[in-house]
């Protein structure tokens, strides 16, 4: 993707001739007044929280069952759901110049119905692998992965990958059935010609054939959770590779199935406090404590966040993007923050045992 080209197109798109505005300023003011009254009610709720008066709201800690990852032979059955804490696949071979992990500047995303692996090259080209569990994708005239609303037209049959059927897709991608009913998609940065030929073709097929499934290396965390109150569960984990091992960047928990309608999500972000690339807010905040650590509560419209500037060497942010009052319950962000137990910034001490 040419970033300058995208910038130009966004400018042109924004310059599209708008219809007359339907914005009603009087209605905004009237509803805004009601919102001010609601804020005063919420301020009272937060005061109660700070005093610990609603501790009884916190439900019993439940560790949701996660399917275990196994290391199957190529083509053996894939699970119906992935364990977000144990990335199911990894690259086995990458073209020269491509890297994954911190050195490559990449982040991957592990969820129950989709695993996304990124590899970057020195020229900033991105190669992406999407891995789906059994039953998510179906291939006919197009590959349709229903859970994610994606549909990619099939161009032609491609050489089998380890004896399993594969197809070239119009979107500069190769897809193959790595296990019965389970598909992978490799998105390639070089698109002309497509399907590729010569060494390009060999490289695409070699990356596909090299993918290793059934991985069992768990993601490691600089904190652990003393449990999540029902119905909260781990839904997605953004992770990178540190010294070749998966390490969390962002933990996402949801109060329902991942990536579905009506489900609230809360993100837990962290950074070493001494080398942080972000700060806790200082305006419009409320001061609270989390396990004795000073923290701030930021209830900006559209998002609620607990930010702990320095908790045993970690800076932690627990945030939801919701403000559709009163959901999620105002206690949820602070409740989940109080389930965190920081370990520290040294990856050597991090844990894969996230929920205890």
């Amino acid at each position: 993707m040419d970033e300058a080209g995208l910038r130009t197109l966004l400018d042109r798109l924004a310059d599209t001739e708008p219809p007359p505005a339907r914005v009603d300023l009087d209605a905004a003011i009237a509803r805004g007044r009601r919102g001010r009254r609601w804020r005063r009610v919420r301020a009272g709720i937060w005061a109660l929280l700070a005093a610990g008066a609603v501790a009884a709201v916190v439900a019993a800690l439940v560790v949701p069952a996660q399917p275990s990852a196994q290391r199957p032979a190529y083509g053996a059955a894939a699970p119906a759901r992935f364990n977000p804490l144990v990335p199911y696949a990894e690259f086995g071979w990458l073209p020269p110049g491509f890297q994954v992990g911190v050195r490559g500047g990449t982040m991957s995303r592990s969820g129950p119905a989709q695993l996304i692996l990124d590899a970057f090259s020195g020229s900033n080209a991105i190669l992406q692998l999407f891995v789906y569990p059994t039953g998510i994708c179906h291939v006919g005239h197009a590959e349709v992965c229903s859970a994610y609303n994606t549909s990619q037209p099939v161009l032609s049959r491609a050489p089998d990958v380890h004896g399993h059927r594969a197809y070239w897709l119009r979107t500069a991608s190769l897809t193959w059935e790595y296990a019965p009913g389970a598909w992978s998609v490799l998105s390639w940065p070089q698109i002309s010609p497509w399907p590729p030929d010569g060494s390009e073709r060999a490289a695409v097929l070699r990356v596909a054939a090299g993918v290793r499934y059934g991985q069992t290396a768990p993601i490691r965390f600089p904190y652990w959770l003393s449990g999540l109150a029902t119905p909260w569960r781990v839904s997605n984990v953004d992770y990178t590779l540190l010294a070749g091992r998966p390490a969390v960047q962002t933990l996402e928990v949801s109060n329902g199935p991942a990536d579905t309608a009506g489900v609230d999500t809360i993100d837990v972000d962290f950074t070493p406090a001494a080398h942080s690339d972000w700060s806790c807010p200082t305006e419009g905040i409320q001061h609270v404590t989390v396990d004795g650590a000073a923290a701030v509560l930021d209830n900006l419209p559209g998002g609620e966040r607990v930010c702990i500037p320095d908790w045993r060497g970690l800076r932690l942010s627990v945030m939801t993007a919701f403000l559709e009052t009163p959901r999620p319950h105002p206690a949820d962000v602070l409740t989940i923050a109080r389930k965190l137990h920081p370990i520290g910034p040294d990856p050597a001490h991090w844990t894969a045992d996230l929920q205890r």
């Binding site: 970057f120 020229s123 991105i126 698109i191 945030m319 993007a321």
Partner: protein, 169 residues
């Protein structure tokens, strides 16, 4: 009308067109964009006593708009069919390549809302990674990740139409 309310109305009058354009890039639909702006201005009024004292009200309002967009999309996105080809055909700016502009709108409509918001903040609002992270309420690392995923997704959808032939990132 009281003094603060006058300030609020004056502020909104001066920024309405810009807010609508930002909302349109996020929604790809002018009606939805106006709904988003309406919700943003309602929330802005709720918080106006605080906002009016800020050095950078524009940044604050942008944050409200983007987070409102993401909040509402999280509850609604899977009920919407976000497949390429479903965006409505609004008019295109004079002088623009209509096909390219419509392509990018359809492609934007087909990527997840958080990636879309990240790309709009980075490449339309010209925010850097840290500024985008502040608006989105996430880490700089997550912004980088969302940017790379969003660009990759756009590339996958746009390249066949653009017919490019070189290495891209």
């Amino acid at each position: 009308m009281s003094g603060p309310q006058v300030d609020y109305v004056e502020y909104v009058a001066g920024r309405l067109a810009r807010l609508r354009r930002l909302a349109y890039l996020l929604c790809q639909d002018w009606h939805e964009a106006d709904d988003l702006v309406q919700a943003t201005l309602t929330r802005l009024y709720t918080y106006w006593p605080r906002a009016a004292r800020m050095d950078n009200i524009d940044a604050y309002v942008r944050t409200i708009l983007v987070r409102t967009f993401l909040g509402e999309r999280r509850s609604a996105w899977s009920r919407r069919v976000l497949l390429p080809g479903t965006a409505q055909a609004d008019g295109v700016a004079a002088g623009a390549d209509p096909d390219a502009v419509l392509d990018v709108r359809e492609a934007l409509a087909a990527i997840p809302p958080r990636q879309r918001a990240t790309l709009v903040l980075r490449f339309y609002c010209d925010l850097d990674v840290e500024q985008s992270a502040t608006v989105l309420g996430c880490s700089a690392g997550t912004v980088k990740s969302q940017t790379s995923k969003g660009l990759a997704a756009l590339r996958r959808m746009l390249e066949p139409a653009w017919g490019g032939g070189s290495d891209r990132g």
